[in-house]
């Protein structure tokens, strides 16, 4: 009897040891994954793209109900301020109509002057419309997943815009999916122009809702309300996409509020500028000819 008890105790000890060993193995495996990810970025890139492509059909299936839920939430919020919203929109409409007249006049004038000066415009951009099927928003990333990929002509480095302005750039591309890195992400750096002074600067994200303007020749020239636009330097972005406006200046620190409303993005447009600039990521293959499967191509 005592021998049997001893045996059971020993067996239990062995079992406990194996279990403890299993935990150690798992911890080592997790650290191994981290180190492999740090050492072999190309492998991780492939794994990410594979995971994206596998997950995107599932995400697309749940994107519609989620969008419906979002709309319901937004509707509820808007009901409360319908009257003020209407008044604001009427006022804005009147202002925009005046601007439209001005824009038409300027466009005609511009066309005429370009004809006179024999000005050659840069490559023409085409757009790929995409639905946002997933957010990759956490405490550490600001981004989203799109339902278009290499098959629709999406390539890393392309600009992603909304109706209001620049949202971000394409970071990773799968066959039928792509990841956008928003301008607010901590890894985002953009060459920009201050529209009023034509001064160059770098616009950087820091995972908060506002952007940071750095590397200015003179911070003093920036005023609140100045619009920030893409400068086109680096080659992969068209010139003049609006990004945001300056909301805070002071002590060498300029904050910019992006025009794009990241809290209600549903559809975005990927701008195919036809040039693969410096930004196109290492190891990414060239985009194949667009077959127009998932994305809709418009001029």
């Amino acid at each position: 009897m005592a021998i049997r008890d001893d045996f059971e105790v020993a067996a239990a000890q062995v079992r406990a040891a194996v279990q403890r060993f299993a935990l150690g193995l798992l911890v080592i495996a997790a650290f191994g994954a981290m180190l492999v990810g740090k050492a072999d970025t190309v492998l991780v890139e492939h794994a990410r793209v594979l995971a994206l492509d596998l997950a995107s059909p599932v995400l697309e299936a749940i994107a519609r109900p989620v969008a419906a839920a979002n709309r319901a939430i937004a509707d509820l919020k808007e009901f409360a301020s319908l009257r003020e919203e209407n008044a604001r929109l009427r006022e804005e409409n009147a202002r925009l109509l005046a601007w439209q007249t001005a824009a038409q006049r300027l466009e005609n004038e511009n066309d005429g002057l370009r004809g006179l000066a024999n000005f050659r415009e840069g490559p023409e951009a085409s757009f790929i419309t995409a639905r946002i099927v997933g957010d990759s928003v956490s405490a550490y990333v600001r981004g989203a997943l799109l339902n278009v990929g290499r098959k629709a002509g999406v390539a890393p480095g392309q600009a992603v815009v909304t109706g209001e302005g620049l949202a971000g750039r394409i970071a990773e591309v799968g066959d039928n999916s792509a990841r956008v890195l928003f301008v607010t992400d901590v890894n985002s750096r953009l060459p920009v122009l201050i529209e009023r002074t034509r001064e160059r600067a770098i616009l950087a994200g820091d995972n908060s809702s506002q952007l940071r303007l750095t590397l200015l020749q003179s911070v003093a020239g920036v005023q609140r309300g100045d619009r920030i636009i893409t400068s086109g330097h680096g080659g992969s972005f068209p010139v003049g996409i609006p990004i945001g406006e300056v909301v805070e200046t002071g002590e060498g620190r300029v904050r910019v509020r992006p025009f794009a409303d990241f809290s209600r993005l549903e559809f975005v447009r990927v701008v195919d500028y036809g040039v693969s600039g410096l930004v196109s990521g290492a190891g990414s293959s060239a985009p194949s000819t667009p077959s127009g499967v998932a994305g809709q191509r418009v001029r």
Partner: protein, 190 residues
């Protein structure tokens, strides 16, 4: 054991895979573009909640290797460029180990204790992920969004946990031997 019918086999199979499936669902839900204020902030921590809750109820149906795979999948799907892959996996495995080791304080105790335990363990999870992310990207990551995530998920816990706990009540033997751990029936409950 007598031979079971197809239905019974299916039922057993369903029971065995349910926690894993729920975890996979929450991993994918992390990416859902939900715009509900506050709730969408907490989505990335919900898989950790599922891991905690199922480790309490049925750890044998959520084995460590599965947690490793799910954690790596979550990191691959969520992470931006440069973010370490495998941090969540490490966190999940450690949460499970901590729960299994402390079952006597967490199983069969008032809900408030479980909530407190969750708050404690997820705090560890958040700190782990934050510090490893900061270490691997070698930048001073702003801790405030991570804190907001933490607070929201701790507040959400009482809403979600009873739902997930139902998986245990449906178990035919109620509490299987490995889940009971060192706790004896009635030992810690009043």
């Amino acid at each position: 054991m007598k031979a079971d019918g197809v239905l019974a086999a299916l039922d057993r199979w369903g029971r065995a895979t349910l926690p894993g499936a729920v975890l996979l669902f929450f991993v994918l839900l992390t990416l859902a573009p939900l715009r509900a204020p506050y709730l969408s902030d907490a989505l990335p921590l919900l898989p950790a909640l599922v891991v905690y809750q199922f480790s309490l109820a049925t750890p044998e149906r959520l084995p460590g290797p599965l947690l490793l795979v799910m954690g790596i999948l979550l990191d691959l799907l969520l992470g931006g460029p440069g973010a370490p892959v495998g941090v969540s996996a490490l966190g999940f495995v450690l949460i499970r180990a901590a729960v299994v080791a402390n079952r006597r304080y967490l199983v069969g105790v008032p809900f408030l204790f479980q909530w407190f335990g969750f708050g404690l363990l997820v705090w560890g999870f958040v700190v782990l992920v934050w510090s490893l992310t900061a270490l691997f990207t070698w930048t001073a990551v702003d801790p405030v969004p991570a804190m907001i995530q933490y607070v929201v998920v701790v507040v959400i816990y009482p809403l979600l946990a009873p739902l997930l706990a139902r998986v245990r009540a449906r178990d035919p033997l109620n509490v299987p031997e490995p889940s009971r751990g060192t706790a004896r029936p009635g030992e810690t409950s009043p």
